[in-house]
Symmetry: C2
Subunit: 414 residues, 2 copies
């Protein structure tokens, strides 16, 4: 059989990137037209170094269906990742990759990742064509940032959004126990696009949330120190506990990241001024408003791999996107990415389509104006967009109190 | 009916403190000898200000069993909390409290909290006696720090431990995706006792953990900068990804908290030196070992209220402890705390006993020597102690992707 598959993962981790991997493996393994499924270890960087495993052999060991199910719920990249970018000009790396693909009789190449990875998939697809090769290159989207064009949303985003929304609710329940006035600032990932910070609005769906968060700051809007303090003071007049959701990527009027603003010296308590958007806001309050207990926390990397709080909708879509990639490949499509097209909010319905990789690679989708409210909030349109994405919970198996995950043996290279 | 109950909560939040509240409410509501259950809002501080709600009325609204079940799974204090301490000498506050209790015909007073709260319960119990009152005061233990004497462990600890163990596993899965060598430092709560940091060892129960964390630093042992760097270098020779679990409360040879050590100035990259034990360790590596990607993260307050990853064992025990408090009270016991006595590790079996409050109040239980290994690790004895505590998962209900919680109406005071 010569119709083999090579699949690899790239970029930053998400809670469902392995669900897409599982979907592609599942579909390819079922498909008679396909031979062996190989996995590149650490993305194209590993492929260039010929670090490749035989996925078919490993996944068929033991119970196939159970392995697929476990892999679906395993966060981060089961095949490892890289931040390696191909040069714009064809170089030795292109040739090395093609030689390895020829050697392994690869007919279908799948690359799971964000916009950099879509660029890689596109370049390789173009290169294969230019060499007269019929090898197909398909991109499978993944990013918690939700910043890919031409897809309604990206797998990985919804689970991160669900983690953020539930975490902010828990943080609020924690913060409100004391009678003293306090401000909790929650810093959320997203350097240039505020989708994940905006998803903090989902907390309001809970009747325990009392409408929190009170304020939502996005990188798409200019952040102003004085407006922030005015807003906080106004809310503190009416409420005991203020919850602020802030993107790590907010910028000031000069377009500079707040987190990188050099404020210098020490605060009025003699503490060194700390980095991070959340810490910056905390210090604004500490210096600008008397006697308010203020604390900034980062949700940090658990928001992308917090697999105890994933969205079933997200996991199933990620799986489906992986399966569709194989179907598009078998239909002869190349240099495309599988995208999600929303047909309806309620009932929530989507279909999977193919979009040209070159229209996605290296672009970033920002939040459109109609989804942002005046002041520091988002609109009902944003809520309607986000709401269906976090529906449903993935059943988890535990062993001795720890969530079960699937592991490939990455050192067993071919 | 004059045998009424007053219950209140105090100290820092945990994921299961409301399970103990639910247990006490459940038992008291079922019990014919007991009249109304009242709740003090924000602990004794609220009681002094007569901020008291009628729990019986509120919990019987709608479906009693379902309300109890939801309350069991709600993190932080449903009645609010305080950090208020009674003075050692009897003062106006004692008298105010007694007058309010008399007015409400309270026969049983329950206080849920850590060692400060046990001190409060004890002082009130002694004061009631000195005034010839037959009001019973009982303490219900709660602390994620697990630092109360005379109880095998404290409700709240196991769920925090389970959150820590699963989070470190997820952090490791995230960290190991890149081929570059890296160190992840996870800072864990526990100012003086290292129980929660020690529970990071539970991560090793997962076959996906590859034995992580590599190093565990506890406040019970002196932390030495050079030993730390030597340990890290040794592990980096053999492994790509190093995971360090560190208690926020580690101290140097002078007994000073590392987190408060003034290192002054800037690091070699011109960044201000940051606070926190994790950040301190991160900077030690950045300055002491070349070219190693290092990142410190705090699990922050989600480790105490992260209700998506609680231990069913913990929740059920917390509930039982609340029920037992009512049973001990009806048996006429006063100035006691409900404690958990372990009968066996495997099969795990416990019984609930009463212990004198005065032997618990204001003491802290540290990790005994036999549970700490030489170097930076814990022993098999610690693992055997911890293992049964995180068993079992609490079923959760969700509405629109958010975990369901129970709320009292705290403004509906009597």
């Amino acid at each position: 059989m010569s119709n083999n598959v090579l699949i690899a993962q790239s970029g930053g981790p998400s809670a469902v990137i392995n669900a897409s991997l599982a979907g592609a493996i599942y579909e390819a393994t079922k498909e008679d037209q396909i031979g062996t499924v190989y996995g590149g270890v650490h993305g194209i960087q590993g492929i260039i170094e010929k670090k490749i495993i035989n996925i078919t052999d490993q996944i068929l060991e033991g119970d196939f269906e159970k392995n697929i199910e476990l892999l679906k719920g395993t966060p981060a990249m089961a095949l490892g990742s890289c931040r390696f970018k191909l040069s714009k000009e064809v170089d030795e790396n292109y040739k090395t990759i093609l030689n390895i693909l020829r050697e392994l009789k690869i007919k279908y190449f799948f690359y799971i990742g964000g916009n950099d990875s879509m660029d890689t998939a596109n370049r390789l697809g173009e290169y294969f064509e230019s060499q007269g090769e019929s090898i197909i290159a398909i991109g499978i989207p993944k990013t918690i940032d939700n910043d890919l064009l031409m897809t309604d949303h990206t797998p990985g985003f919804a689970s991160a959004a669900k983690f953020v929304a539930n975490s902010i609710l828990q943080v609020y329940l924690d913060a409100k126990v004391y009678p003293q006035k306090s401000v909790m600032i929650v810093e959320i990932m997203g350097r240039n696009a505020g989708w994940l910070a905006a998803s903090s609005v989902l907390t309001r769906l809970s009747k325990s949330a009392d409408g929190k968060p009170d304020l939502i700051y996005l990188p798409e809007k200019v952040f102003d120190d004085n407006e922030f303090l005015t807003d906080i003071k106004k809310i503190l007049e009416k409420r005991n506990t203020v919850v602020v959701a802030v993107s790590e990527g907010i910028k000031n009027a000069e377009g500079k990241y707040i987190a990188e603003t050099d404020r210098g010296g020490e605060d009025k308590f003699g503490h060194a001024k700390l980095g991070g958007a959340g810490k910056y806001l905390e210090q604004l309050i500490t210096e600008g408003i008397d006697g308010i207990k203020t604390r900034a926390i980062e949700l940090n990397i658990l928001q992308r791999v917090g697999s105890s709080l994933t969205s079933k909708t997200d996991i199933e879509e990620a799986f489906e996107v992986g399966k569709k990639a194989v179907q598009f490949a078998l239909a002869g499509e190349s240099k495309v990415m599988v995208a999600i097209k929303r047909l309806s909010d309620s009932p929530y319905e989507v279909e999977y389509i193919k979009v040209p990789l070159k229209e996605i690679a290296n672009f970033e989708k920002k939040i459109p104006a109609e989804m942002m409210a005046s002041g520091s909030d988002v609109t009902e349109a944003m809520m309607n967009y986000l709401k269906p994405l976090i529906e449903g919970e993935q059943k988890r198996d535990y062993t001795e109190g720890l969530i079960d995950y699937y592991n490939f043996n990455l050192s067993k290279t071919i």
